[in-house]
Point group: C2
Chain length 170, copies 2
């Protein structure tokens, strides 16, 4: 059984993007030489699973951000891969039965779907020092999940990064 992990930034009011998908507010915490542990996390994972919304955003990036990793897009509308991405139209549990190792689950819809089916083991949430007031929420009716605190750390930029383990899985 693979290990599913979340590593995501949210506003203090829990949004992962503005209503139009805008991420400009992440600039508040951009600092030279500080990636808040992202590269170390990314190096540790084998596969990334994203939804169609995240895919359409990242597909348009100048550089394909998931280079060197297996990438699965959960969608019912497969398209032509840009690099090596695969398209999967089944359930999270069906997908996981085909995967091994450490799986990075990204994007609001996919994260909530995986959470709802109890498939997330650990979540690292970086709070950016801003209230956005509106946007795309990280959590969309994922059900109730007790958590265990693994670690919390504040950075000089004001970013507060907290790692939670899903208690039921321990």
């Amino acid at each position: 059984m693979p290990t599913c992990l979340v590593f995501i930034a949210t506003s203090v009011d829990g949004f992962i993007a503005r209503p139009d998908g805008g991420l400009d507010w992440l600039k508040r915490v951009e600092r030279d030489g500080e990636d808040y542990g992202f590269q170390k996390f990314f190096d540790s994972i084998d596969t990334i699973v994203i939804g169609r919304g995240t895919y359409d955003v990242t597909r348009a990036f100048e550089t394909w951000p998931y280079l060197g990793k297996r990438c699965v897009v959960m969608t019912h509308r497969p398209t032509t891969p840009r690099v090596n991405e695969e398209f999967f139209a089944g359930t999270p549990a069906e997908l996981l039965s085909t995967l091994e190792g450490r799986v990075y689950v990204d994007g609001g819809n996919v994260i909530s779907q995986f959470l709802a089916t109890g498939l997330i083991e650990q979540m690292t949430i970086s709070q950016i020092p801003i209230v956005l007031g509106e946007g795309l929420p990280l959590f969309k009716a994922p059900g109730e999940h007790p958590l265990t605190l693994v670690e919390s750390r504040a950075f000089p930029s004001g970013l507060v990064q907290t790692t939670w383990r899903l208690t039921a899985r321990t």
Copy 2:
């Protein structure tokens, strides 16, 4: 001009209560001799401002929780005070022009109203280690507000308490 402060607990998905107002999930972090700084904070304030929703809950408590403090309830439906609480039907700005010192603003609706009008100076948010999945949100369209991190602290129970200052006010 008084100083408006927020001191509140939320789930990791940003709810301050279950859909029916239930607060049973706060028990996850109940520990003997640990109040997460609440009494110290409460002792430091002069006035508490709450909305009708919070009032109807606290009015039913066996012990009136705001003893020794001036208490203003923002409501258009005044009722008979239980202790010394006052009822106010105007705007947050109108209310503040009648107050002095440190004001504890509590309850989702009132906090968001005060935030929206730029009247909150500092917020201490205690994240309880649970995703509730549904409930009454802390933030209800309060507009965009850049924050400055004042302090963040993790407790052995897993509660993560973070204090933010509203950047515009500094």
